[in-house]
Symmetry: C2
Subunit: 194 residues, 2 copies
């Protein structure tokens, strides 16, 4: 299994306009692209992938999404389609256990610690940061990795401290500062080559 956990610092926690994913929805466009790049290949979905998203924007944070590649149906890789799926999940009343919204898509009231407690039982947490070890040197040794990465803002200092308590390793995918979804493509690429 491969897992990804994306932290959306501003991503809103109520239904939003699909016309303004990058604005009033709190850079939900980034979240949509991350989900697409984690799940899709050409004409297919990676069934061995799970994507988790932590939504920290107003008005009702935190909320978490879980997208299970092996269960997903009726999803297309464009931002608007994935945005619509997230919006639908955000229309549900949440509690602390995962609630199914559409096939393969779940939502719950969870914060970063909740998520890492749950996920570190089945995954080895890998923190993606520019100053980490070169992914090329370690990709083929990563078993059941969960890659944690931030949106355009990165991770807040307190969240980074939390992640570092769970992370087995800090890994870098480029000396350039890349967009989160680009990091995901590169992670898949290096792991696919193993």
């Amino acid at each position: 299994m491969r897992g990804f956990l994306i932290v959306g610092n501003k991503a809103v926690t109520k239904p939003f306009s699909l016309k303004d994913l990058a604005g009033s929805a709190g850079r939900m466009d980034i979240i949509c692209r991350c989900i697409a790049q984690a799940l899709f290949i050409s004409h297919g979905i990676r069934r061995d992938v799970e994507v988790y998203v932590l939504l920290l924007g107003e008005p009702d944070p935190p909320k978490a999404l879980k997208i299970v590649g092996s269960e997903v149906r009726y999803m297309a890789p464009d931002e608007r389609n994935i945005g619509g799926i997230i919006r639908k999940a955000l229309s549900l009343k949440v509690d602390y256990s995962w609630k199914r919204s559409t096939p393969g898509v779940y939502i719950a009231r969870k914060n970063l610690i909740d998520l890492l407690e749950e996920l570190s039982k089945k995954y080895n947490v890998v923190y993606l940061r520019e100053d980490g070890v070169d992914i090329r040197d370690v990709a083929c040794r990563l078993e059941n990795p969960l890659f944690v990465l931030g949106d355009h803002i990165g991770l807040r200092e307190e969240d980074e401290k939390t992640v570092m308590k769970y992370a087995k390793i800090v890994v870098s995918v480029s000396k350039l500062s890349l967009q989160a979804d680009q990091c995901i493509v590169i992670v898949h690429y290096e792991l696919d080559r193993c």
Copy 2:
């Protein structure tokens, strides 16, 4: 310089609805993602990149777009923003020379041969196809490469023959069949490491 030429087999050649990039606009979502991944890094644009797009959809094909990284302003990486920029270019009356639409964005009436004749003077044409040589073995030897790739359909047989007349090399980025924009991310990644 790095160039990319993306062939949009169904991408429409008139202004389209931003609500339906993936449908009635002829998979314009793929074109938008390719442009974004070719140009953007985190909080910046790659100034040494040019992107060319061949639009072959109805009602008025062929049309070609040129996007010059060193000149681009007011562009964001989300599909809707780039879709709006393409739509604006498609509202212009075109002829055989490049006409500027917005900063760094040009449009003209050109077919695949026109484009390759023009671009092969300044670039070495590289055709991206799954059965090519491994990009990792050749990335650092590619000078001024222009990477040619198709959308979800790939290249039509006759277009592939045309490209092969100009291509110096056929290169593969993965044994998996990836999406066009994912191929672009990987190309940049391998070239950035050189």
